[in-house]
């Protein structure tokens, strides 16, 4: 099988217990397949459910019904420890926000995904250095915690962390937002390299030119919004 990510009949509801137990249906009948070496863009207006679907694939949001199979694991039904193993070995996620333990040096933040799959610390460190260099994070910042960095710098640290380990599947939420032209070019090259090594990628790009360049096709999630809300 060439499919790395297979989403079938997925639905999502939110129940707001503290607001009159309102049940909000946000998604129904979502279907999507991503093959190895392929990049699929999620498109649709703001609020249509692009990030929601991405978070469900990562196991960050629960799935009400349907299946989300990533590398053979059905995230919609899997036990926490199976999802943790999937996230460690197979599925990477570059979110829009960097969330790290305070005081941990940038270099260690980037090397951490490698260390957790058992890569030798020296090799992990040199890979992290190479990525930070490519993403133009000045070397004098490597020993500092990224929590104090600018938005664009944090975004690049997040990308470096997401690309450090060669995940077979990657989720990218606005990877080129808040980047200058040079860094945007680097990130697009990183995505192309990941595709070339066979990674299946799902991305959200508001940057249309970037989307057209790296994505093989686009899925409009508006089609998954339930009717008659």
């Amino acid at each position: 099988m060439n499919a790395m990510i297979e989403i079938a009949g997925v639905a999502k509801t939110f129940t707001l217990h503290n607001q009159g137990s309102a049940v909000i249906r946000v998604m129904e009948g979502a279907n999507l397949t991503v093959n190895r070496g392929e990049c699929v863009a999620l498109v649709g207006a703001s609020g249509a459910g692009k990030s929601t679907l991405m978070r469900m694939i990562y196991g960050n949001y629960l799935t009400a019904s349907g299946s989300i199979v990533v590398g053979g694991v059905n995230v919609a039904r899997a036990e926490p420890r199976d999802i943790l193993a999937l996230r460690r070995d197979t599925l990477g996620y570059v979110s829009q926000f960097l969330r790290v333990v305070p005081r941990v040096a940038t270099l260690d933040v980037v090397a951490e995904p490698l260390l957790s799959v058992g890569v030798d610390p020296e090799i992990a460190k040199s890979k992290a250095q190479a990525l930070l260099q490519r993403l133009r994070i000045p070397q004098r910042l490597w020993g500092l915690s990224p929590t104090t960095f600018s938005g664009g710098e944090q975004q690049r640290v997040n990308i470096a962390r997401g690309f450090a380990h060669g995940y077979p599947a990657l989720l990218l939420d606005e990877p080129t937002a808040s980047l200058d032209a040079e860094n945007r070019e680097t990130v697009l090259t990183l995505i192309e390299e990941a595709k070339a090594r066979g990674a299946a990628i799902i991305g959200i790009f508001h940057d249309e030119a970037a989307r057209d360049r790296v994505c093989d096709h686009a899925i409009d999630v508006t089609a998954f919004v339930p009717e008659a809300q």
Partner: protein
């Protein structure tokens, strides 16, 4: 894979009042589980039942021992359980003074745990103690000072060194960062995360601080009135809480 700890139907009542009721879960090697809930939700009662400090009214706490495989620690003999508590388990108290001997030196506090499992060579004990003080960022020249002369954060780090020196496989932590300054908390969290990964520890952390569990715990259990009301991956429970109480808990956190 065999769970390191398998908790089945743990119930503890205080007269008519429920401490915790029918709690069951499995913890696998290398996993860190957080237990959250407000004061009185039963999370500390549960932790103390698991660690052998309280005898549950019903249920089993099955631990995968090194020598005999899975054993119910509730029904094992007191000496056996004490030996387990000294070797394979560690318990980090909220108040460092509950877990330290305040009238002996920092080095002595660490060395005592080693001697309890049979270490006798003074030079070696001192060397291991010095190494552990270094790992928890306590300078060697403070080794002969008593913990009474330490700050709260240092006392907590010393307690962690004392607990981990014997290479336990399971660590129980009761509000490990409670009562510490935010900057000291961050340092301690960083330290704990590093130690958990390097030593392949499993841990159960009881706290009411959701930020602490987000950074430290893989899985989360939410308790209310003695019952487990929600479990799951930590980030999933915090970002997509299902139960009314969890939603309230998550939405009540002040954003910084």
């Amino acid at each position: 894979m065999t769970p390191l700890l398998s908790v089945q139907g743990i119930t503890k009542t205080y007269g008519a009042h429920i401490g915790c009721a029918d709690v069951s879960f499995d913890l696998y090697p290398g996993e860190v589980m957080g237990i959250v809930g407000e004061s009185g939700s039963g999370k500390s009662t549960l932790l103390n039942c698991m660690a052998g400090h309280l005898v549950p009214d019903a249920g089993q706490v099955v631990f995968d021992t090194r020598s005999d495989g899975p054993r119910d620690t509730v029904t094992m003999s007191e000496p056996e359980r004490r030996m387990l508590a000294r070797t394979d388990w560690a318990f980090v108290h909220q108040h460092a003074r509950d877990g330290l001997r305040m009238n002996i030196s920092a080095g002595g506090n660490v060395g005592e745990r080693l001697m309890a499992v049979g270490a006798r060579h003074y030079g070696q004990i001192r060397e291991v103690a010095a190494d552990w003080l270094d790992r928890v960022e306590i300078h060697e020249d403070r080794m002969d000072d008593r913990p009474t002369a330490f700050s709260g954060g240092m006392q907590q780090r010393l307690q962690i060194a004392r607990n981990l020196v014997t290479g336990p496989r399971l660590v129980f932590m009761d509000e490990p960062t409670g009562g510490l300054d935010v900057s000291v908390q961050a340092r301690l969290l960083d330290l704990l995360r590093g130690l958990v990964r390097k030593m392949g520890l499993s841990a159960i952390i009881v706290t009411h601080d959701l930020a602490v569990v987000r950074l430290l715990a893989d899985r989360l259990m939410v308790m209310k009135d003695g019952h487990v009301i929600e479990t799951g991956l930590t980030d999933q429970v915090l970002d997509d809480p299902q139960h009314a109480y969890t939603q309230l808990l998550v939405s009540s956190v002040l954003q910084v």
